[in-house]
């Protein structure tokens, strides 16, 4: 009973912190914009992140230099080459080249989304399960389509291997992929944001001034790491799933 009460109290406190942090006045409930109920905050944060990505990539790829690349250009190029290395290692270079744009987009979108939530009063689009599940379903459908495209009818064969009665297990395995993708990302990023809010709520202002900010600083730096890692894991798993379904079995 007391546990439930404590849970309730912490929830109240968290709600209070969220309320205090909500300086932009986003509605807490989903609003209907004409095509169904949407979380306005998530959408607006996504648009901001998209705008940032567009500014970043366009600034980086404008006036590209062959011999003396600028800092932004170098960042984008390094990121791209890192992802291309992963893709070419796991897929063959021909398939990898055709999917590079997608892989690059997924990575940069998730990276910016994850990092955006670390800025006070902002929220990661990926801290909403709608975003992560949407991305995961997108990847899931893409994987099925690519499997059909590259292996034609032979694609369905892998559901019945090694025996026909493995079908339920393979189906569950197949369906668990988007779910794990979605909830892994969502859990990590949402937990990070919750803990940021909790640290703000738990430590009173006076304590914060006299060293209490250290906990937040440490957690924020760890969150930066987690953000990069989660973006990488999502991208890497996407590559792995695609390589699984497009690899030719002999």
């Amino acid at each position: 009973m007391s546990e439930a009460a404590g849970h309730e109290a912490s929830k109240d406190m968290l709600a209070l912190v969220h309320e205090n942090l909500n300086v932009w006045g986003f509605p807490h409930e989903a609003v209907n914009l004409g095509f169904g109920a949407v979380n306005l905050k998530t959408l607006i944060m996504t648009w901001i992140v998209m705008a940032l990505i567009i500014i970043f990539t366009v600034a980086a790829t404008r006036n590209m230099q062959l011999k003396r690349p600028g800092k932004l250009q170098l960042m984008v190029e390094e990121m791209f080459q890192f992802l291309r290395g992963l893709a070419y290692e796991n897929l063959d270079p021909k398939k990898g080249a055709s999917l590079m744009c997608l892989i690059f987009s997924i990575f940069i979108f998730l990276l910016f989304s994850n990092l955006w939530g670390l800025i006070p009063t902002m929220m990661s689009p990926t801290a909403d399960v709608n975003t992560t599940l949407g991305m995961a379903l997108f990847v899931f459908i893409l994987v099925q389509v690519l499997g059909l495209y590259y292996r034609k009818g032979g694609y369905f064969k892998h559901f019945f291997e090694p025996f026909v009665f493995f079908l339920p297990i393979t189906l569950i395995e197949e369906l668990s992929k988007p779910l794990t993708l979605a909830f892994r990302l969502y859990g990590n990023i949402y937990a990070g944001e919750v803990l940021i809010a909790v640290l703000l709520g738990l430590i009173p202002l006076t304590a914060t001034i006299f060293g209490g900010f250290l906990a937040s600083v440490i957690w924020l730096s760890f969150s930066i790491f987690v953000s990069c890692i989660q973006a990488f894991i999502f991208t890497m798993l996407t590559i792995a799933y695609i390589s699984q379904v497009t690899a030719e079995h002999h």
Binding site: A30, F35, G36, A37, V38, N39, T42, L43, T46, W47, M50, I53, I54, T57, V58, T61, M64, L66, K67, Q73, V76, E77, F80, Q81, M100, C101, L102, F104, S105, I108, F109, P125, D128, V129, N130, T131, L133, G134, M135, L137, F138
Partner: protein, 168 residues
């Protein structure tokens, strides 16, 4: 199903987010991606060209080095042959000089011998003359007037002939 949707707070945001992502994907594909790929390709090509050029340069340098080495070897050989020729010539010349010197010394010796002989003969003739004169003087003193000058002369000549046959 509805319960799951309720618990997870799923709504149309999901569709909107997929749509947003696809929009971003299209934008990056159209605006950003070609630049990056082209730049990387250009750089790869640039590096490949540089490597090829460096390889070419290296080959050229190797050829030049070989050429220079050959030329150096040729020059060395030539120098060697020149030195050999010069040595031979010097030897020949030395030989000639020695020969000439030998001939000269022989000639000088010959002429000296001739001089000596000539002097000797001259001295002998002079001595003969003086002996004759002295003998005549002595004989004339000794014989006085008993013998004519002609007889004396014959006797003296005979004596001198005998004396001349003696080795002196």
């Amino acid at each position: 199903m509805d319960a799951i949707v309720q618990v997870l707070n799923l709504n149309s945001t999901l569709v909107a987010q997929v749509f947003n992502f696809i929009m971003l994907l299209i934008f990056l594909r159209v605006v950003v991606y070609p630049h990056i790929v082209r730049m990387l390709e250009n750089r790869q090509e640039f590096i490949a060209n540089n490597v090829a050029a460096a390889e070419e340069d290296r080959k050229q340098a190797e050829t030049l080095r070989q050429q220079y080495l050959d030329e150096l070897q040729m020059a060395k050989n030539e120098a060697q042959s020149i030195i050999q020729k010069a040595g031979k010539a010097a030897e020949e010349q030395a030989h000639e000089i020695i020969e000439a010197a030998k001939a000269e010394s022989n000639r000088i010796k010959e002429s000296a011998l001739q001089d000596i002989n000539r002097e000797k003969e001259k001295a002998v003739a002079e001595l003969r003359d003086q002996v004759a004169t002295l003998s005549i003087l002595v004989a004339s003193k000794v014989v006085n007037e008993k013998m004519s000058v002609d007889i004396q002369r014959g006797m003296i000549d005979e004596f001198i002939k005998e004396a001349g046959d003696l080795p002196c």
